[in-house]
Symmetry: C2
Subunit: 228 residues, 2 copies
């Protein structure tokens, strides 16, 4: 198909498609004449993947290029590609090590040992967790750490479900792509579900006596007494 | 304390502190002389909160101002403040409704009904979930939706733990602040834990025969048999 058709099918403008080709995110089309390139279903699929990583995952062009490089390198064993993709998807760093950071690092090392996780002490994922726990400590919420094993229980169950989904793919390309998609979009899904569950739990705990979720158009009784 | 001391204690530069005051994130100091303002522990605490929301939560200055406005409005009932803070923390929108979006909306409505969640059909949290599921469909991964109830189970357990933590605070200010901190930093913690659990699960499923987590420097048993 021509670039106009590719644009129409994906909702990505022609100049943006050309930009992605220049930035190395999307392979160039096959030249069918000196001034015309031809694109196929693989371009369409890759373009949709780029938009998903960008729009829902919030990744930058550079971040997407890193992840796609790992996906496209057919030489690397699957386990390493998954690990590298995960590393490149890791959250941003949070400043220089300080006392809170050192203390959070110990907490994470204990957690990893307690759970028996086969992860190293210094990867980007570990650092992201240490950074978040250090930030909690800096705002006086180190008590939140008492929830860590509840969170880890949930993370293990989700990771197991994720892996079941990913491992259904027998072809390497499909497996790696589904891992990347699942990691990025799964984060967005989990975050949204957690907040919906918060709204529900908060409505039950702090809401009006009969169905407190009225702010969002849910059934909420009129004249209900304030609960707490 | 003077602004220099506040800067030293929080690691935020003096010009940045002044910028936060101008942007309405941080209350101005009390004028102790025409050219000198005095800051107290409440400023220090608020400044640490701003940095946590920004550095770990990835919120913009405008986003932080919105959240802090909800926190600071003592008139509103707690349930409403928590709901509004959650709305303002919602993920970004993802384009115009299309066939995938409509279909994802139906999936979410069914999920909410099935779980009995007291949430409305049209809040920002619901939209964030619909957007993420629509993105999955656009990249051909609608099969991922079979994991939705596993994710929802985990989200409910986490939300219950979160609420237990938040509800320990009897004072309104502390309660609302801990909800905001827990929502934002909890997302970062959960995301990092999920990825660590991925690395662990992937090492077990796809790793080399002797402890596949070597890329991260984890202890890998020599000559250990692959478990499957």
């Amino acid at each position: 198909m021509r670039i106009g058709e590719l644009s129409r099918r994906t909702g990505v403008s022609v100049p943006t498609v050309k930009y992605y080709v220049r930035e190395g995110l999307l392979p160039a089309g096959r030249l069918s004449s000196p001034n015309q390139a031809s694109y196929d279903a693989s371009h369409e699929r890759r373009l949709r993947l780029i938009r998903a990583l960008m729009d829902v995952g919030g990744l930058s062009v550079a971040g997407i290029r890193d992840v796609l490089d790992a996906v496209d390198d057919a030489e690397r064993p699957v386990h390493k590609v998954l690990g590298e993709a995960a590393d490149r998807l890791a959250a941003r760093r949070t400043g220089e090590p300080d006392a809170e950071w050192e203390s959070a690092r110990d907490t994470v090392a204990e957690l990893v040992g307690r759970r028996g996780w086969r992860v190293g002490p210094a990867g980007p994922q570990t650092e992201a967790l240490v950074g978040a726990l250090a930030a909690l400590r800096r705002v006086g919420h180190e008590g939140f750490e008492m929830l860590l094993d509840d969170y880890a229980d949930a993370a293990e169950r989700i990771a197991e479900a994720d892996l079941g989904y990913v491992a259904r793919n027998s072809k390497r390309d499909a497996l790696v792509e589904s891992a990347v998609v699942g990691t990025v979009l799964g984060d967005a899904i989990l975050s949204a579900l957690r907040r919906l569950a918060h709204v529900d739990a908060s409505a039950r705990a702090f809401g009006e006596a009969q169905g407190g979720a009225d702010r969002d158009g849910a059934p909420g009784g009129e004249g209900a007494a304030e609960g707490e």
